[in-house]
Subunit: 570 residues, 2 copies
């Protein structure tokens, strides 16, 4: 058995692959690449690279880091895994519902295999895609995943590369697609050994999380390949169905062909090669429809983007909260339900400038919208979820909307567990500074009072408290909450007008504390206030109501306080 | 049980639904629609409509014509069928191979059920979609399908509505998608009862096959709905995965929103509702990329269009034929393999004018290309297929191309049976005139000599001779031919570069009688001539060769006469 090792180190004069105590010198192979064939190496061999005689470091494209981010890389052969999903033909995003989860906090064991044991719950719920928060190795043993550094590897804390494959395989056998959250705009602050290998980072540009990735400076052709081939690895070798691209607004790229456009063209070519739809979803706060405009029309050709305006409008409407960036969103529901963005060129108080661009022509399924997600829960001081009663109203509006709905784990049963921001930094300066950094973030967002209430991200209990408590499903109140979610998803699938993506067909009547959303013959009527009221709509059949006291008589629909009903005309 | 009958007859002053000998008068329901509820009617009830007291006629939206195009309509309830394809999530076109078949000629019995009995053959072949030539009722018992009139029904000669559903269900259980050929540009010349109901046809515009459908004149809003809802019926109620839209160049529509754009928007909305990819493919001779340009970019948003230029270039290259419309296509392979169209603004001798528009920016999977299809075989005087030896070369080039390949039934084993033009008109003037009409067509296309050789379309033997002879699969030569096709499809699926849709990445070296098509590291080398030769290419591994005498040595590849090989560099 001979193992071939390859690494890009364009400025190096010598590179060694270090196996055990033996250094094998590598040959320059053109384009800044180095290569070596080592007798006896192969799947399972531990190795490191040394540039110009320096300390051995993990492979920038390490597929396996069994001892974590400071340990050696281990050779991993993708072809050894025995897949069972031959019949899987993929899943297209339009019409789908996404379920976001954190592998470590989803189950008590916190592994891929344990998560796979809960898939029947998701099938019964009726969702179509599972979206995993990032899975690469991170500092310590608990992290949201956005501090990942070995971007080609899968943390062994969750089950390593084979564990992720078993999870994807199990999803496919149940008809569920898998979306993976990937972070291409920064690397974590600890265990990042890329810089000695090549110009992976920008000299002049920085993001909120540190040095920006070099997508348009000298040497960036290969840096772009590093990320693009990373994307292709997940989609091809892990059979993943889509990627959620973290914070694309933090990508610095002024090239004529933007990194995201290049990426989407490559992924579309792979989609043709593997014969499955492959879905790219951006997290973006730019409110810029260019992201999901087809490349032929001058856009980047992504399938969808997260839309926080819809979240904020829902959140404010059902909770009444107005602090910080929620300030502009009072009464915003009619606008976002018909135009997708509140800020589509309008002034954003939080940003102190006008923001966004009209997007009403964009199909609704290109907006991934949530009443709850890891950020909107976890970035609150106490990681507290929306009250269950408010959540049921928000879910009623979200799951009848023209957008692609996304749920956050536990939301469907009104989980009472928080989802806190947690880390486990091993380097003392990071461990000690994390709580302070977190507080500064809250102050920066204008949430001074939260800064004092936030628990220390580094405490193990902060992580343990964030794990779902599945025993809650034994309680009636949580079962009833789950039934409401199941019924809403089933209703969405049974009535095509509810997932009709054409925003210009949505009409909203509204008044003080109430609104009626017209989706073809379906009418979604909500009383968000504390006083019962009667709304007028086209007479028909009540398909579903959040409260048994909802009654329809002719054109009049009686809605108790804090209730929602879907009525089909005719 | 009460049956509700509905029909659009905007100029009528009275409409009856006629059941047995009883006329039930219908009520005007607004918008030109008439409705009646009849006690005791339901699934299985035979009925006709009478406009202003005239002769009873079939329902324009008849779902079932058990006694053919002159018989009564029969109520058909879509909800009664028990589907088994719950796990089917659809199939996306990119990366797929299509297999076109005529239900009547595919098997000796000529039914959906008999066709379903041959699906294992298609699975083993490796194709992804079955494309059915049109299935609505036609005059007589044998017809290509383009003389259909009851466009919402399925001919009982194939098995009726339930038969089609059983076939689709069986395909889905084997992982095959189904594309249905639908004809919206004209109705057949016999049994067309639409005109008395409403302005279905254009006063002033005509197509090659008769009166043009009214898509932009007065009353055309409802006529467009007639066709759009027809499309939705197949995709929704029959679980079909895509439609092949016959001859869209014969649609007359000058509205700001073209019928095809409206159709694709509706189908995309349905795709979101059913959570499956739904594929629209146009047959078009316009060479106009607007058809498959996204709507956001000003196009019609179809998934793909047939591309005859690729067929003609292949046909001329492997057969040497030059007559009629093949005249421009000598040496056209390098151009069509890199630009999709030969005529992308260039002069077309056959049309006597310049033709088409550049399309190199369009992804290759948006072009459905064939070495053989029903038209290119069947519209030859004697319905003769390409010689098997030429076909193997054409298949080698087609199945390694950036386009969506389509095969025609029997092609994969080099079937020796012809596919002739056949009809079975019941009206004497049509029956007697058909052979003459056919001859005039050949003369019109410049094939005067063919006019004499074409058999009478109305003779039953013309149909019977066109049926596949499956016993040919017992013979070694046909098995070897089939093995070549299977190997090519398997190769296409195993090497992503072969289905890479980016035309600007295709490079072709060529000379007298040979060409080498570069698809990333894969090189497709073909010797189309009668003399052995050696071509130069990047050294590598011969993945597949049509002839055991092909040999590679370094940069030299030896190709015997009429041979093709795929070599992977590196």
């Amino acid at each position: 058995m001979n193992g071939v090792f390859e690494v890009w180190a364009p400025a190096a004069t010598a590179v060694d692959v270090v196996i055990g105590d033996v250094r094998h010198s590598m040959d320059a192979a053109g384009g800044g690449w180095w290569t070596a064939e080592v007798v006896g190496a192969g799947h399972g061999t531990d190795y490191r690279f040394s540039v110009d005689g320096g300390d051995p470091m993990p492979d920038p494209r390490s597929r396996w880091q069994p001892e974590g981010i400071f340990g050696p890389s281990r050779v991993y052969d993708h072809d050894r895994f025995a897949w069972n999903d031959d019949l899987w033909r993929g899943r297209s995003l339009p019409g789908s519902v996404i379920y976001e989860l954190h592998v470590g906090a989803f189950t008590p064991a916190g592994t891929f295999d344990a998560a796979a044991g809960r898939l029947d719950h998701l099938v019964e719920l009726g969702v179509d895609f599972v979206e995993l928060m990032p899975v690469p190795p991170v500092p310590g043993t608990r992290n949201w995943g956005y501090d990942g550094v070995d971007l080609w590897a899968v943390t062994d804390d969750y089950g390593g590369p084979d564990g992720l494959k078993r999870f994807v395989d199990a999803c496919h056998l149940r008809g569920l697609g898998v979306i993976l959250d990937v972070v291409y705009n920064h690397l974590g602050p600890s265990g990042n050994f890329l810089a000695p290998f090549g110009p992976y980072f920008h000299d002049s540009a920085a993001s909120f999380w540190g040095q920006a990735v070099n997508l348009d400076g000298p040497g960036s052709d290969e840096v772009r390949r590093y990320f693009i081939e990373n994307a292709l690895q997940w989609l091809r070798d892990y059979h993943v169905d889509g990627l959620r691209l973290d914070a694309v607004h933090a990508l610095h790229d002024r090239r004529a062909v933007h990194f995201l456009e290049e990426l989407s063209a490559e992924v579309d070519a792979l989609s043709a090669a593997v014969g499955r739809p492959l879905t790219l979803i951006a997290e973006s706060d730019l409110n810029d429809p260019r992201l999901m405009t087809p490349r032929e029309a001058g856009g980047y050709g992504l399938a969808a983007a997260w839309n926080d305006d819809v979240h904020h409008a829902l959140h404010v409407a059902v909770t009444g909260e107005r602090h910080g960036y929620y300030d502009d969103f009072a009464g915003a529901l009619p606008k976002v339900l018909t135009c997708a963005y509140l800020h589509d060129g309008t002034f954003s108080s939080f940003r102190g400038r006008s923001h966004g661009r009209p997007a009403r022509h964009v199909p609704g399924h290109r907006f991934v919208c949530a009443a709850q997600n890891h950020d909107q829960i976890g970035n609150r001081a106490e990681g507290d979820r929306m009250p269950a009663e408010a959540l049921r109203l928000a879910a009623g509006l979200l799951l009848t909307s023209p957008f692609t709905p996304m749920l956050f784990m536990g939301e469907e049963w009104g989980a009472s567990t928080p989802f806190l921001f947690f880390t486990d930094h091993v380097e003392p300066h990071l461990r000690e500074g994390e709580a302070d950094r977190r507080r500064r973030e809250f102050v920066g967002f204008g949430y001074d009072d939260w800064a004092e209430r936030a628990p220390d991200p580094g405490e193990e209990t902060t992580f343990l408290r964030s794990k779902l408590d599945w025993s809650e499903l034994d309680r009636d109140a949580h079962r009833a909450h789950l039934d409401w979610y199941r019924a809403l998803i089933a209703l969405r699938k049974a009535h095509p007008e509810l997932s009709d993506p054409r925003l210009d067909r949505v009409r909203v009547d509204h008044g003080d504390g109430w609104l009626v959303v017209h989706r073809g013959p379906c009418q979604v009527a909500a009383n968000l206030g504390q006083v019962a009221l009667t709304v007028r709509l086209a007479p028909g059949q009540v398909l579903l109501a959040s409260d048994p006291k909802v009654t329809a008589e002719g054109e009049e629909l009686f809605l108790p306080p804090r209730s929602l009903a879907i009525v089909k005309a005719g």
